[in-house]
């Protein structure tokens, strides 16, 4: 449990760090990847590559946060009896936040489908809002086991 706690906080820190980077590096995505698209100038015929770094960073940050939460939830489930004997509050505290975490993850992924169809700033913003919602939830979750649910 101590090893898990030691790991989770730096990982969370890292994800928060990269989530704040978006937009700082404009030519970091290779053309032809899933987060790029080709645009043809109808006048000159020149083809350029559009990179959606904001989407890439958002998805990356989401993956880190969702993965962190998933790891804690799974660890608790796999070690439930032992953790319950240490403190029932561990499971109870995670149970109190499981519905919220689930709702946000489902929401992010649904909004992502909308953005994939129509990649506008107006559709990216709700995605980033959902990402912002999941950050404090993840921050709370990673501390539950080390603090024994207190």
């Amino acid at each position: 449990m101590k090893k898990l706690a030691q790991f989770i906080l730096p990982l969370f820190l890292f994800v928060v760090l990269i989530a704040g980077v978006g937009g700082c590096h404009t030519n970091k995505l290779a053309g032809g990847g899933a987060y790029t698209s080709l645009v043809t100038n109808t006048v000159s015929g020149v083809v350029t590559t559009n990179t959606d770094l904001a989407f890439f960073v958002t998805d990356s940050a989401f993956t880190g946060l969702q993965g962190t939460i998933d790891g804690v939830f799974k660890y608790e489930q796999d070690n439930r009896a032992a953790l319950w004997s240490i403190s029932p509050n561990i499971k109870l505290s995670l149970d109190a936040i499981r519905p919220t975490a689930s709702e946000i993850v489902v929401r992010y992924l649904a909004l992502r489908e909308i953005y994939k169809v129509s990649k506008t700033p107006g559709n990216l913003t709700p995605l980033q809002t959902a990402l912002g919602d999941i950050k404090p939830v993840a921050a709370k979750i990673v501390l539950i086991i080390p603090n024994k649910g207190q």
Binding site: K3, L4, Q6, F7, P10, L11, L13, F14, V15, L17, I18, V21, H25, N27, K28, L29, A30, G31, G32, G33, A34, Y35, T36, F56, D59, S60, F62, T63, G64, Q66, G67, T68, D70, G71, F73, K74, Y75, E76, Q77, D78, R80, A81, W84, P88, K91, L92, D95, R98, P99, A101, S102, V105, V106, L109, A110, R112, E113
Partner: protein
């Protein structure tokens, strides 16, 4: 971003993976991605596609109206059983 801080986090994540391999997959993205994003390297087509597919796959699992993975749901609390020993005197 402080490169030294990033390098320290990468190293810590690598140590943590060695200590807790059950969460290796969850942090593999972080480990592989962070070095490329903060270096001169370009995020390759393969890396982009892998991340995109990974999140797509999450979208098939976490869907409104669909059963969530059990560890994301509230399950019954562990039950503690108390053994009662009775003795009967002949």
């Amino acid at each position: 971003m402080n490169p030294a801080l990033i390098a320290a986090i990468i190293k810590y994540i690598q140590l943590a993976i060695a200590a807790a391999p059950e969460i290796q997959k969850a942090v593999e993205w972080a480990k592989n991605f962070i070095g490329d994003l903060f270096s001169a390297k370009v995020i390759s087509i393969e890396q982009q596609n892998a991340l995109f597919s990974h999140v797509d796959a999450l979208g098939t699992v976490f869907k409104a109206g669909q059963a969530l993975p059990s560890h994301w749901t509230v399950e019954p609390n562990p039950t503690t059983t108390t053994t009662v020993v009775t003795s009967t005197t002949p």
